[in-house]
């Protein structure tokens, strides 16, 4: 298996692995339980499960939730802050928001408590002019105090450092002289953008998780080394690319939202190979659904994500909108007598009733079981099987009785409400980004996505659904398709008419140069290195930004003006020729192409000769028109070029796809199941 590429992705329930030999197209898969206390254990178990000979592996690409979990559980390194005099509370005060629009109860805990936030004399103004020089002795005193307080990581965050980072750079030098392990983060180095709260939070998140990620990757790289892996471990980033483990910790914040990103990256790669450039990605597991967009074959990226209330992460990330609707979502009747599904979830523990782990409340998965869409024999992760009649009884009592339904109708109502909520979320997620869902293909994956995709597409007017060959391990596929990527952002924030185009050119060239240099230092095999430039613009007086593509560093003022006006018209159908455009930020993504993998290999071997041979049997399943005896196909045996019409159920080990009556299903050349949705 020389030259094999391994993708290994840690999810909430399972750690998934795919090993592919690009030349022979041989594929091995593994799915093992995740080990949240030390994710490395699950990673190593998965490698063993796939029987990978690590000495011959060319690359291991790893998607990890170590940093996300650390933040959500607040199990962070002890971090201290050195900041501009008068502004240590910026991180605690935020932008005067509250957790919910209604209800005045709720709390917010800053990542660094007040006693570990120290001010020093220094001040730049908005033009980057020094008003108060940096008091270096005060910096040294602050460093000593924070070390005495037991801080492991440090943030240096000064006002207007995006405009002139000199004070942060100098303070960083002083800190590096005495700070162990180099766990020091300067605000401008993470996000060179104005807005002191957002920049400060990005830097603080980085610092808080840096030692954790550093130790984790070090340990894992060491363990892999012991098993014969001699190359650099690659780590998936939230921006849709990967970096070497050695650069990952320096910008640890980039891994924070990487979990949902790898699935979107896989979707983009598979969509490109299948000739579908515009996708809505819909990834549903047990507790939530992640909705993303792929435009022109590239995952849409946002720099306005928020991990939770008061924790904006404004570094470029694959734009994923998460809603609380998954297989474990609990159904209940609210005080108005209406059926609600989610956001409360039974999760993996106690899980749906049918998992037999003590779950007693009706969930979406249970509804699918009652309606014959899920095979009671084929469930993964069942502890003690629960008879479908017992599940039915719960539905009849808890949902059916208050609504005047029997168990079947209650289960059907649960599915309809859940689909409605999901469709609403998909519609809002696409519209919020200025797109019409009907222009997209719905790319469904995750354990529960393909079961609902056809119905959702029907609801949204989406004509076509694509379900990849391996829906349950799509995120691991994203690992092996990801390119190396580094993002750079700098603020300009001046009316376009007044911008010095020489400065624009210099910034873009510097960003490209920095990115190329980083890739060169990483010692990872890449092909062509490409730079994607974009500009964030707005009309003078607005606060929301529009991102427009920029051809290259030599871009002209007129080209920027035209690109912005065109994008604005496209988005809002409004022309505002009397108002001046402002150039706010310049971005460069430097992308090093990784060797491509033959995605067709995912479809696997062992195909049946005819459709009939792939038929595993039939079972009664419920559809809006009623119960129907429905053919059940074995996904792995569907012949190339298979075509059939719904209703049908397509089963594979970790996923069930439902073809609604009247929809036409086919298998494309690389093994995607394509559903043409009936109108």
């Amino acid at each position: 298996m020389s030259g094999a590429v391994v993708g290994v992705d840690v999810g909430g329930t399972f750690t998934d692995l795919i090993l592919m030999e690009p030349e022979s197209g041989a594929v091995r898969l593994a799915k093992v339980p995740s080990t949240p206390e030390n994710q490395a254990a699950g990673v190593l178990a998965a490698l063993e499960g796939a029987d990978a000979a690590l000495a011959e592996v060319a690359a291991i690409v790893h998607g990890t939730t170590v940093t996300t979990n650390a933040l959500l559980e607040r199990k962070l390194s002890r971090c201290g802050l050195i900041t501009t005099r008068g502004f240590r509370d910026v991180l605690e005060l935020g932008r005067r928001t509250r957790p919910n629009a209604y209800g005045l109860i709720g709390s917010f805990t800053p990542l660094i408590p007040r006693e570990r936030r120290i001010e020093v004399p220094e001040r730049m103004d908005a033009a980057g002019e020094v008003l108060v020089p940096l008091d270096e002795d005060a910096v040294r005193e602050a460093l000593a105090a924070l070390q005495t307080a037991g801080c492991e990581s440090l943030v240096i965050h000064f006002l207007h450092s995006y405009k002139n980072p000199a004070h942060e750079v100098r303070a960083l030098e002083i800190a590096r002289e005495c700070w162990p392990d180099g766990h020091v983060t300067a605000g401008h180095a993470i996000l060179s953008e104005f807005r002191e709260y957002e920049r400060g939070v990005a830097a603080t998140v980085n610092a808080c998780v840096q030692p954790i990620l550093h130790r984790y990757l070090d340990r894992l790289q060491g363990r892999l080394g012991q098993r014969g892996y001699g190359r650099e471990l690659l780590v998936i980033q939230g921006n849709g690319g990967s970096v070497s483990a050695r650069s990952a910790a320096a910008k640890a914040v980039n891994t924070v939202l990487s979990g949902p990103a790898s699935g979107v990256m896989a979707a983009a790669a598979i969509g490109r190979a299948a000739g579908s450039a515009h996708l809505i990605t819909y990834d549903t597991g047990g507790t939530s659904a992640d909705v993303g967009l792929v435009l022109e074959g590239v995952p849409a990226v946002s720099a306005e994500m928020e991990l939770e209330h008061g924790m904006p992460i404004h570094v470029p990330m694959v734009d994923v909108h998460t809603v609380g609707a998954g297989g474990g979502s609990i159904a209940r009747i609210d005080e108005a007598g209406l059926l609600q599904v989610g956001p409360e979830s039974a999760g993996a523990q106690p899980g749906p009733i049918c998992y037999g782990r003590g779950g007693e409340r009706p969930t979406l998965t249970d509804a699918n079981l009652i309606l014959g869409r899920l095979d009671p024999e084929g469930l993964l992760a069942v502890d003690a099987p629960v008879a479908p009649d017992e599940v039915r009884a719960v539905f009849a009592a808890e949902i059916g009785a208050p609504l005047g339904f029997d168990a079947d109708a209650a289960a059907a109502a649960v599915i309809r409400i859940a689909n409605d909520r999901m469709a609403g979320a998909i519609r809002m997620a696409t519209l919020a980004r200025g797109h019409d869902p009907r222009d997209f293909v719905l790319f469904a994956f995750g354990g529960a996505g393909p079961m609902h995709a056809a119905a959702l597409a029907g609801e949204l007017g989406i004509p076509r659904v694509m379900i990849p060959a391996r829906p349950g391990i799509t995120s691991a596929v994203g690992c092996i398709t990801a390119d190396i990527r580094h993002d750079h952002v700098n603020t300009v924030n001046a009316p376009l008419a007044e911008v010095d185009m020489g400065t624009v050119r210099a910034i873009l060239e510097r960003q490209a140069g920095d990115g190329r240099a980083t890739i060169a230092r990483e010692e990872v095999a890449v092909g062509e290195v490409a730079c994607l430039h974009t500009a964030d613009m707005q009309f003078e007086g607005q606060t929301h930004l529009l991102t427009v593509p920029v051809e290259g560093p030599e871009v002209t003022r007129e080209a920027l003006q035209q690109a912005f006006e065109a994008a604005y018209w496209e988005r809002f159908q409004v022309a505002l020729d009397t108002i001046r455009p402002v150039l706010v930020n310049l971005h460069t993504a430097v992308i090093g192409a990784r060797p491509t993998v033959p995605l067709a290999a995912l479809a696997g071997a062992g195909r049946a000769a005819t459709l009939e041979d792939a038929l595993a049997g039939t079972r009664r399943a419920w559809f809006p028109a009623g119960w129907q005896e429905t053919p059940v196909y074995d996904r792995d045996r569907l012949p190339a070029g298979a075509r059939f019409e719904g209703p049908a159920i397509v089963q594979q080990s970790d996923c069930t796809s439902v073809v609604e009556p009247g929809d036409r299903a086919s298998l494309d050349a690389i093994g995607n199941l394509i559903l043409e949705v009936a109108r």
């Binding site: 932008r95 609403g424 409004v574 108002i579």
Partner: protein
């Protein structure tokens, strides 16, 4: 009509909700006014054709607009306007179901298959509608005509075409008119987005079914609200709140709120409140009622908003008080400040009835502060607006939130870096208002302190804030939060404190002068002497309170370095004074 199946009911209900959410989204994404785009100071909804009653409203609309657009639409219908497809009415008259002049309402008759089906309406806060001060928040206006341009319902769009004559009257009377064109287009296009989605919904489910759902949703919301009210003990519950002054006469104004809970109905009587005032702290009837609706929604956030949820809330119009302003009383303070005091009076009353669900009073001021002048370095005029948050009240769920948004708003404050980029000012600090959290078993959250120095050119400062005389009330024996303070520190070191404490205008500033503002903290909940000493120690270590404040306000005596709780001295001190002393 057959029995409505509950699933269809839920699906069509969420469809109506989504029409509103999409209008909200379209409005905010394309608006110019930062008050709308960043401050989210807008709202969109669907209203009944016959009586203007609320059918559905966007979930991210500004809370204070919860009821006002219904009243505004009612007033519009009362004028019996002739309506055609594509017409859009614009109105900002406060007395016709409004708030203040800056909140401009657009209402569009929505036609389905050629017949008028419902109203789609929205409200957006324009940064300026003319008047004696930029931004409209004059602290000293004594007549509405001084506050800006007032227009009755006028057809700004006639069958899809903007009326250039009306537009030119509006644009000739407001500041920075070129950006208002962008906002007018954003506001009207949001309604068009709503019309498209509404048409799709009706096409899909049919008009009779949608109408049936609307009726059913209203009945259910009323039932749900009544079920909530039934959990409140019967009786008359009395709450009080105070506005510092009206900005003209330096006397406090009192809101006297008596809530009669009778089974599943609530009656609100404010007739004993202060009479109409000379300055702009009068509230119009629509705002007064909306403030009560929004207070109830903060207490019962899970009841959906539509006309049904308002049915069991009976509000006696407080004629003869400052909470029922009539022409030409000035009203600019009603939406931002008086509304929050009204909500506070509701909280104060119900904290006695259902203490387990309530919280002590939040800071409850929008902290409007404006500096206007001319920047010699750029050769142009500017107006800088600063809004700020304050502490929320403690509650059985824990300590209050620090620097929370105004009760009636959901808007974010502007970054310091943005203000320093745009205006000739330098902030000396932006920090937690130490000591401002009201003492209690669960203490209030903290307000904010900021100090802003003028760097270039002469300027004028104005502010409309509140809680300068007395801090937000505590509940269940908790102490009030810290008060709002404003100080002007001149370049020569001399100081000026506004006579009305929280309201002033046209304070002349010279380069080097600094305005320092500290916003209120939230009230404490429960007896301060029952707070865990370890929590008090933690708060002192963080510099939230001094050791002296810990002893005085919480009865916790600290000793040593680093300090620790002196258990014996603390026990002695807490025994010596009654637990509710605060």
């Amino acid at each position: 009509m057959s029995e409505l199946d509950p699933t269809t009911l839920g699906v069509v209900q969420s469809g109506l909700q989504q029409v509103c959410n999409e209008m909200d989204l379209a409005f905010v994404r394309s608006a110019f006014s930062p008050v709308i785009s960043e401050g989210l100071d807008r709202s969109d909804g669907i209203y009944a054709k016959e009586d203007g009653k609320l059918i559905a409203q966007g979930e991210l609309g500004l809370p204070v607009f919860v009821g006002t657009m219904q009243f505004s639409t009612e007033h519009l219908i009362a004028t019996r306007p002739e309506v055609r497809e594509g017409d859009i009415f614009a109105v900002n008259d406060p007395y016709l179901g409004g708030t203040h002049l800056m909140d401009v309402r657009f209402a569009m008759p929505f036609f389905y298959k050629g017949a008028h089906f419902a109203w789609l309406s929205n409200t957006g806060h324009w940064p300026d509608t003319g008047g004696m001060v930029p931004g409209g928040f004059s602290a000293r206006a004594t007549e509405v005509v001084q506050e800006g341009l007032r227009f009755p319902p006028v057809k700004l769009y006639k069958e899809g075409t903007i009326d250039q004559e009306i537009l030119s009257i509006i644009l000739s009377n407001i500041r920075v008119p070129e950006q208002r064109i962008g906002d007018i287009k954003a506001q009207s296009s949001a309604l068009l987005v709503g019309a498209r989605r509404m048409t799709a919904l009706l096409d899909k489910y049919g008009q009779p079914l949608v109408e049936q759902v609307i009726r059913e949703m209203r009945a259910r919301a009323a039932r749900q609200m009544r079920a909530k009210i039934a959990t409140i003990p019967d009786g008359t519950w009395h709450g009080l709140a105070q506005v510092d002054s009206d900005g003209v006469v330096n006397e406090p104004l009192t809101i006297d709120m008596r809530i009669l809970v009778d089974g599943s109905e609530m009656h609100f009587d404010m007739s004993r409140s202060s009479p109409p005032c000379a300055g702009p702290m009068n509230s119009v009837a629509a705002t007064t009622k909306s403030s009560i609706y929004l207070a109830i929604r903060h207490i019962f956030p899970d009841v959906p908003i539509n006309a049904g949820s308002f049915e069991p809330l009976h509000i006696t119009e407080p004629r003869g008080t400052f909470l029922h302003a009539e022409y030409p009383r000035p009203v600019s303070g009603c939406a931002a400040e008086v509304s929050q005091r009204i909500a506070e009076a509701v909280f104060d009353a119900l904290a006695q009835a259902i203490p387990e669900r309530l919280f002590a009073a939040p800071a409850g001021t929008s902290g409007n502060f404006a500096v206007g002048g001319s920047d010699p370095a750029r050769g142009r005029d500017y107006v800088m607006y600063v809004i700020s948050g304050g502490g929320y009240g403690g509650s059985p769920a824990g300590d209050g939130l620090t620097n929370g948004c105004s009760t009636i708003g959901i808007s974010k404050s502007q970054p310091i870096e943005v203000m320093e980029q745009r205006y000739p000012v330098l902030f000396q600090e932006y920090s937690l208002h130490e000591g401002s959290g009201g003492a209690g078993r669960w203490r209030g959250g903290f307000g904010v302190t900021y100090a802003c120095t003028l760097r270039r050119g002469a300027a004028n400062a104005s502010m409309v804030m509140d809680h300068g005389r007395s801090g937000p009330n505590g509940a269940r024996g908790g102490a009030p939060g810290g008060v709002n303070t404003v100080d002007v520190i001149r370049a020569d070191g001399s100081r000026y404190r506004p006579p009305h404490l929280s309201k002033d205008q046209e304070i002349a500033l010279q380069p080097g002068d600094t305005v320092r503002v500290s916003t209120p903290g939230g009230g404490g909940y429960g007896a301060p002497f029952e707070r865990e000493p370890a929590q008090v120690l933690r708060d002192v270590m963080r510099g939230y309170y001094t050791a002296a404040e810990a002893a005085e306000r919480f009865g916790v005596v600290l000793a040593g370095d680093p300090p620790e709780v002196d258990e014996a001295a603390t026990a002695a001190r807490r025994q010596a004074a009654p637990a509710s002393a605060a």
